[in-house]
């Protein structure tokens, strides 16, 4: 029997804006700004200074920390500025043609090293360094690799297009990932609303003994790591634990393609596919874009903003972050740039909770968002922790369904932040 996770919601998906549009390549931007922290973990330290000339693919920032990933020049050219947050490069097309060589490798450790040096992180949005995820701690064995092609966030279609257009590369990437983590089998989980992706990958996997495709129900947040594991295996990742505790590693489809390109072609992570969508952009599209490209350039490439656009979101509408400045760059974790209109992001006044419990019913982590929000507002952090504040994945289902328009996730984030900063002080 097909199981899925508890709770969840069915938001308007709006994927038809871009789902059938082939990936287009954006020309080189005039300049890029590469942030020193594009991943979860330690920020990088610059390896270049103002005035240096760098070539595409060159490592320009790195960190000694294990949980981190280096920053790679996505274009070649002169370094125009180095500051505390990022490195700016003025593009020189001469230095931006990539001529890499496939690296040699032997052991899983070699593969992890190549992946690290290529700057690869999880490209589904969370941006966790991929080589860390592929390194099971002593005594833990990985038996299953799950490839996350659920893409449950409304509007987004990057993973969808990658699965349709880059299926062969994806399968090659999965084979390398299997070797790197030592798993025997891989399952590609795809939401049922992407039949062409399911069909394409099923066809490509026909002769692969240890890779199979599974269609999963369309319900947000199906693409959440813990939710997808539950849907595909029926097992729940323990509170405070990791998928590794169940012998499972989850990687996003775009990440697997990046791994293929790094390991088989010697091409580090210098670009990614971004869905530019929303009713506020003239020509929604799936765009392959160099990392560090200003959001402004990307939106202009898609025909510019309409007059009624009011909000730009980096990521999906459920978990993405509102962009304060269009000069902000595309990062490794940017799966979408959404230009939303007044009608799409109606802003409401927050009202009192009427205890309708829709948030309790919608929570995919079986939490009580109503009480978490209440305790956060009253600074009752101990009570919040006791009802598992830190098991919240911040998917936004509770805020979405709340008829009183209480920004529940925001309150939960605030409580987590307060507790964490108090702990750091101690």
């Amino acid at each position: 029997m097909k199981t899925t996770f508890p709770g969840g919601i069915h938001p308007p998906y709006n994927k038809e804006l871009t789902a059938s549009k082939a990936i287009v390549e954006m020309p080189l931007p005039k300049r890029v700004r590469l942030l020193l922290q594009q991943h979860i973990g330690a920020p990088c330290k610059p390896l270049v200074k103002k005035g240096d000339v760098v070539t595409v693919g060159q490592k320009i920032a790195d960190s000694d920390a294990f949980v981190s990933a280096p920053i790679i020049a996505s274009v070649g050219g002169e370094v125009a500025a180095v500051d505390a947050e990022g490195i700016e490069i003025v593009t020189d097309p001469e230095h931006s043609r990539f001529t890499g060589q496939a690296p040699k490798y032997d052991t899983p450790e070699d593969i992890r090293q190549i992946i690290r040096e290529a700057g690869i992180v999880g490209m589904g949005g969370a941006a966790f360094p991929t080589h860390v995820k592929l390194s099971p701690p002593e005594g833990k064995e990985v038996h299953t690799l799950i490839i996350n092609g659920a893409e449950c966030e409304p509007y987004l279609s990057t993973d969808h297009r990658v699965m349709v257009e880059q299926g062969e590369e994806l399968i090659e990437g999965i084979k390398i990932l299997l070797r790197a983590c030592g798993a025997q089998k891989a399952i590609i989980g795809i939401e049922k609303n992407k039949p062409d992706a399911i069909e394409n990958l099923s066809r490509l996997c026909r002769d692969e003994e240890n890779i199979r495709v599974e269609a999963v129900p369309v319900v947000y947040p199906q693409g959440g790591e813990r939710q997808l594991i539950k849907s595909l295996t029926g097992r729940e990742v323990p509170v405070g634990g990791l998928p590794l505790d169940l012998g499972i590693v989850v990687q996003n489809v775009a990440t697997a393609v990046a791994v293929h390109q790094a390991v088989n072609l010697g091409r580090p992570l210098i670009d990614r596919v971004v869905t530019v969508s929303g009713r506020g952009v003239a020509e929604p599209a799936n765009v392959r874009v160099r990392l560090g490209t200003p959001i402004r350039d990307l939106i202009e490439f898609c025909g510019g903003m309409r007059d009624d656009a009011v909000k730009v979101v980096n990521g999906g509408p459920m978990m993405g972050k509102a962009v304060a400045s269009l000069d902000d760059p595309v990062t490794k974790g940017t799966s979408g740039i959404l230009v939303l209109t007044e009608a799409e992001v109606r802003i409401y006044e927050e009202r009192t909770c009427i205890r309708c419990a829709r948030c309790v019913d919608a929570c995919p982590m079986r939490l009580m968002p109503n009480y978490l929000a209440l305790y956060s507002r009253k600074s009752m952090y101990n009570d919040a922790e006791q009802i598992h504040l830190f098991n919240c994945i911040e998917c936004g289902c509770c805020s979405f369904v709340c008829p009183a328009r209480i920004p529940i996730v925001h309150y939960i984030q605030k409580a987590k932040h307060e507790i964490n900063s108090k702990r750091r002080k101690k």
Partner: protein, 312 residues
Amino acid sequence: MTEKLKVGPSPHILDSRSVSSIMWDVVIALIPVTAAAIIYFGLNAVFILLVSTLSAMIFESLVVHKSLKPKKVLGDGSAAVTGLLLGLILPPSAPLWMAVVGSGVAILLAKQAFGGIGNNIFNPALVGRAVLFMSWPVLMTRWHQPLALDNWFADLVSGATPLGAGSASLIDLVLGNVGGSLGETSVVAILLGGIYLLLKGHIDWRIPGGYIGTAAIIALLTNQFSLEAVAFHICAGGLLFGAVFMATDMVTSPTTKVGRLLFGIGCGLVTMYVRVFASAPEGVTYAILFMNALVPLIDRYTVPKTFGEVKK
């Protein structure tokens, strides 16, 4: 290109359902019982329901907005729900001033004194009824026969309720052709409203299910397993109306799934305790008010096991 971008916490899209859309849905769900009340009890019903609803809306608007502009009086619809519910649990012969006093108690004492919408512990309409019942017990227990449909403008004739008399034909009970509070008599009308609320997702089956199920089991056990007695207990009096429209009030019922079931069962137990062992013929009001008081406790002890929580 515009540069005045709005920022705010995720998620950036929200469901269209709002507090007031829920409240007006409840008003829609009360249309069948309101219609039944008017059909069976005539102009008395029209006036009582109008006065109770309007006075509740006006009290709320005066306290919350200090204004009587039509838009403020309509408000979020929650006062309309409370006023209409209160009217529907008054006897058909209740004087209009009682409807005003009941609505005043419901809105001012039970709701606004506790902090307004979302903060009240007890169901406001039931508090209104309880206060009226304690203050004017004679007026609150003057029951009347429904009107004949071919003589709709006639005066009401007094008569006992099925629970008071101890019997009634099942067909009359289902249709509502019996004595009782304005909205509680017609099983069909109550079920129509309940089904609407269930389909809209505004009520959880666990509360009416637990309530009616428990009452049915106790009726079975205390009546030598007579199915007729079970049907009588469920269809007569205010049990069904209370289970569908009163116990399911979001503000005053638990927010956990298990809690909602326990709450429903508790309502059933107390109602049947009053009916079977106490001197009063009916116990729905006090059962639900009593269980309202236990809601914070129920929520606290029925927190679900979170995703991935290891059994201890």
